[in-house]
Symmetry: C2
Subunit: 227 residues, 2 copies
């Protein structure tokens, strides 16, 4: 409603990044609500399930339109539909995984991806020993076939689980093949190719952050003044 430049024809509300990051939480919560047979859900309940507060839920959802009824709550089915469509989950997303190491292997058969609409449709590796290996239903292909597979299968997302040293080159190649989004597990900073969006997941970093806080709590305890 408060669209600054009310351009007719381009009603882009421009969702804040923090809100985008919470959509998956709401998505999960709504799925569980829906499976539980609930027709409506209040912002309070959603907040509880998503681990945030109710005001945030309401503001976040308001960016997408009016899906709630005052005095009642949100229509679970309608809201779920909206979020699924925003996330583009109306059809399955195909992904290609590059780097079939320890982690890569696990990611290929990771159930969580499939359950949420993502399918690792191809996996490649530079190591000739790995090419041809079967992992679940998938056969590892040579890295040289990357471009063909991406184009033929209509793959939009790349997953990098190579060693750090190879990550930038792989990202560039994925970009050239027409992949528009990359999830990078290699612990290194990648410069995004033109038009490609990258998200980084560094598992060790997560532990380091936990360690930092733990460290802090301990040392605070140690030097607590004996009042």
């Amino acid at each position: 409603m408060s669209d600054p430049q009310g351009q007719p024809g381009t009603p882009r509300p421009q969702i804040p990044e923090a809100t985008v990051g919470r959509l998956p939480l709401y998505h999960r919560a709504l799925i569980s609500m829906h499976q539980g047979g609930n027709d409506t859900v209040s912002s309070e309940q959603l907040a509880e399930m998503a681990g945030v507060n109710a005001a945030k839920v309401r503001k976040d959802l308001s960016y997408f339109g009016t899906y709630g009824t005052r005095g009642v709550g949100y229509d679970v089915e309608a809201l779920l539909g909206e979020i699924r469509s925003d996330l583009g989950l109306t059809s399955e997303w195909k992904c290609v995984l590059v780097g079939v190491g320890n982690l890569g292997t696990a990611l290929i058969s990771f159930a969580g991806f499939r359950e949420r609409g993502f399918h690792v449709a191809a996996a490649v590796d530079v190591d000739p020993d790995k090419v041809g290996t079967r992992i679940g239903e998938l056969v590892v292909a040579p890295q040289s076939s990357l471009e063909t597979m991406v184009r033929d299968e209509g793959i939009a997302i790349g997953i990098i689980s190579t060693i750090p040293a190879a990550a930038q080159e792989v990202a560039d190649e994925l970009g050239r093949c027409g992949v528009r989004s990359i999830l990078n597990f290699a612990p290194t900073v990648i410069e995004a190719p033109e038009g490609v969006l990258i998200r980084n997941v560094d598992l060790a970093s997560e532990l380091e952050i936990l360690a930092f806080h733990d460290q802090r709590r301990s040392s605070a305890r140690d030097r607590r003044p004996a009042v």
Copy 2:
């Protein structure tokens, strides 16, 4: 969570969470600088390597004290030492992994953890078929032995890679055993036990966020007005 009364005697600079999240990036960058034999590094270089801007680097580092020399840069070794000590990486952190599924198995032997000072010292599962299985040097133990292992080995960090339905219970149990930090891979919200810090990593969410942006870019393109 807030610490309103600034007790004299506890000079805690209180590091912003956003800064904490970037420490691992700086840490990585400094390790690589150090291995490259560099003695000093400028905020500009660090920024480049960490994928952030220079002002942010300087502000972040300033919370920890004065490790730079104007006109010169930061002393790589001193700064690396400071960050390692802040992250508590002066000695190895022992972790226990709960839930030896697909992902769990990969995490146990994930090289990235060990390289950065984390060691999965124990792994447990409820499934009797999995107990006794060898993964690398580790033998999967029954979940009932969790408490013993945590106490005997001095484990401070728990990693949850169970199914979502089991996650809360596992977290509670970890809390009881004295684990103070948890890295949760189960796609569900966990209520943190008293005194325990939880970080969530939801791999499917990461893909959903990518999908959201991709979706948005595409539909913006579609409805671009033909001026």
